[in-house]
């Protein structure tokens, strides 16, 4: 009886896991099938080299790849130090009551819809950046990265904090017993042992940054142009898809956004693999 129930439960869980894995694969397959006309005969690479000029039958989206890469990586650069700092503070430096309030606040922040960040960006950040840097409209890579950094920080902070909390208490007690200060314990005991949590946090945050549409759509300016400075406007793959999906269903223009989808998918996968690789190397070092 007991074993039977156990088995049913296991099967149910397995089905759930298989379904979600399958969904991910199916989406990729769907994108590939719809983008197939473009992939045939190496047209895909031709696509990359050309400019985006639907009027003249050219559907290159290299500028959008550059936009996505620039904005999401910069947002990580913005968010990583902040998140590490806040989670350090939460883990060992903050007084209990303050830490609790701060953690609730961070949890609340993960649920704030991105359109609100976008809106604040349009009315507060963009004019500020415009006034600060004389030229340009303020709608640029820098504005979008700063806002996106703020958006992904709470996710990172929560994963980092969980990583720190998962470190075996005995290690910490041992370190304290040897006379290590809180900061020393944090840097030399907690941080190396929380490596996995840090990597997961980075991956989740990068995924969110790459996948986010509204912030870039609202404040990056959406110009089809490879950005050459922080103050240049840029268009990400996601906002490109959002802008172009209104085009005629049967046009080449519309079909080309499936190629964008595939690219975004691959880019995301590549980033996850890269972080895991880098993380594995770092972890080995930590244990030497």
């Amino acid at each position: 009886m007991m074993i039977n129930r156990d088995k049913t439960f296991k099967t149910a869980l397995f089905i759930c896991a298989a379904a979600s894995a399958l969904a991910t694969l199916l989406i990729f397959g769907f994108l590939l099938v719809f983008g197939l006309p473009l992939f045939k005969g190496g047209q895909f690479f031709l696509l990359l080299g050309r400019p985006w000029a639907p009027g003249q039958g050219m559907y290159g989206f290299l500028p959008m790849i550059a936009g996505t890469a620039a904005i999401s990586l910069l947002s990580l650069v913005v968010a990583f130090p902040i998140s590490l700092g806040v989670s350090f503070f939460l883990h060992s430096l903050a007084p209990a009551a303050l830490g609790k309030i701060l953690k609730r606040l961070v949890q609340f922040m993960t649920g704030v819809p991105t359109v609100i960040y976008g809106f604040i960006g349009v009315f507060l950040l963009v004019p500020l950046i415009r006034e600060m840097f004389e030229n340009g409209s303020g709608m640029c890579v820098l504005s979008a990265s700063l806002m996106l950094g703020l958006l992904i920080s709470p996710t990172m902070i929560l994963f980092f904090s969980d990583g720190f909390a998962a470190v075996d208490k005995k290690y910490i007690q041992a370190a304290r017993a040897l006379g290590a200060t809180r900061v020393q314990t944090l840097l030399f005991v907690v941080l190396p042992n929380a490596w996995r949590g840090l990597m997961t946090g980075l991956i989740m945050a990068l995924g969110r940054a790459m996948g986010d549409t509204l912030i870039a759509l609202m404040i990056a300016g959406n110009a089809v142009n490879v950005p050459s400075s922080l103050l240049d406007p840029a268009r990400t793959l996601t906002s490109h898809i959002a802008l172009v999906s209104a085009a005629d269903y049967h046009s080449m223009e519309f079909k080309s956004i499936f190629a964008c989808g595939v690219t975004l998918y691959l880019l995301n996968a590549a980033a996850v693999i890269a972080i895991r690789r880098f993380g594995a190397v770092g972890k080995d070092k930590a244990h030497v």
Binding site: M139, S245, A246, Y249
Partner: protein, 277 residues
């Protein structure tokens, strides 16, 4: 002795009010006692009129639910053609290809201009078409060259599926180039916000959407005002269309009828468009 007078007065007042409300709600009467849903999407220039009409209908009859979404003319035509919405708005006439493929019923209920706009703080309030073309092509990049401040020009444009862009590109730019440095916004409303917030910007917006937060720029001496659009002096104009898949039926037909009624046409005029009747 006073009582009867009071009663007569009240009765007269009630009668007057009844007549007045009956007269006012005349064109909306068709919606009484009906039930159902109308889904509207597409052209963003249409939204103020759609929202107001929807509000009036739903206030009169809460059993009717009307949803109004944007998305652009291209999206409106696509969605109505595929049966995702009941009415697909477009700020341009659907192409023969689109109309044929989907079998669209097209209803033009107003004429709207597309005006060039700058921030109200900008001193440049008049351009020639040739200057505008050079500005959008990225050949003129500083306001100083147009008699303004020594500041870079921030170009704003819309995406390819926008009817507003289509008309602007054809009739104001003469199908000229739009620089790759141009910033993209996704609706008439977003364009207005962007221009109102950026002192060195230039963009284009439906004349019906213009208000004091942006300043219209005269093209070859013709200001983009309702009067100039109406008289035909300002040439950058287009029809506002509401499209249905085939002949409209049921509530959708009533909605189109309302747009074409005296009241609907007065509403279009009140929102800054030129009525067709």
């Amino acid at each position: 002795m006073k009582k009867p007078i009071l009663w007569h007065g009240l009765l007269a007042a009630v009668l007057v009010m009844a007549c007045a409300s009956w007269g006012l709600a005349g064109d909306l009467d068709a919606f009484k006692g009906r039930k159902g849903e109308i889904r509207i999407a597409g052209g963003t220039a249409h939204i103020p009129v759609m929202k107001e009409a929807a509000k009036r209908i739903m206030t009169l009859n809460p059993d009717i639910n009307i949803s109004v979404a944007g998305g652009g003319s291209g999206l409106g035509i696509k969605q109505v053609g595929e049966g995702l919405v009941d009415i697909g708005n477009s700020g341009r006439k659907p192409t023969d290809d689109e109309a044929g493929k989907y079998g669209l019923g097209m209803y033009k209920w107003a004429i709207d201009g597309v005006g060039v706009v700058v921030n109200p703080k900008n001193s440049v309030k008049s351009l020639t078409k040739a200057q505008l073309k050079d500005v959008y092509a990225g050949k003129i990049v500083n306001w100083k060259e147009l008699g303004g401040e020594d500041k870079g020009i921030n170009l704003y444009t819309r995406d390819e599926s926008s009817g507003t862009r289509e008309v602007f590109w054809k009739k104001a730019l003469g199908k000229g180039e739009i620089s790759s440095k141009a910033l993209f916004v996704q609706s008439n409303g977003a364009m207005k916000t962007a221009i109102a917030n950026d002192p060195y910007s230039i963009g284009y917006v439906s004349v019906g959407h213009m208000d004091s937060s942006v300043a219209g720029v005269a093209l070859d001496g013709k200001a983009p005002t309702l009067e100039n659009v109406k008289s035909g002096e300002y040439g950058v104009a287009r029809g506002l269309y509401s499209n249905t898949k085939g002949e409209p039926t049921g509530l959708t037909q009533l909605f189109i009828n309302y747009l074409m009624s005296d009241e609907g046409q007065a509403l279009a005029a009140a929102k800054g468009f030129v009525p067709v009747k």
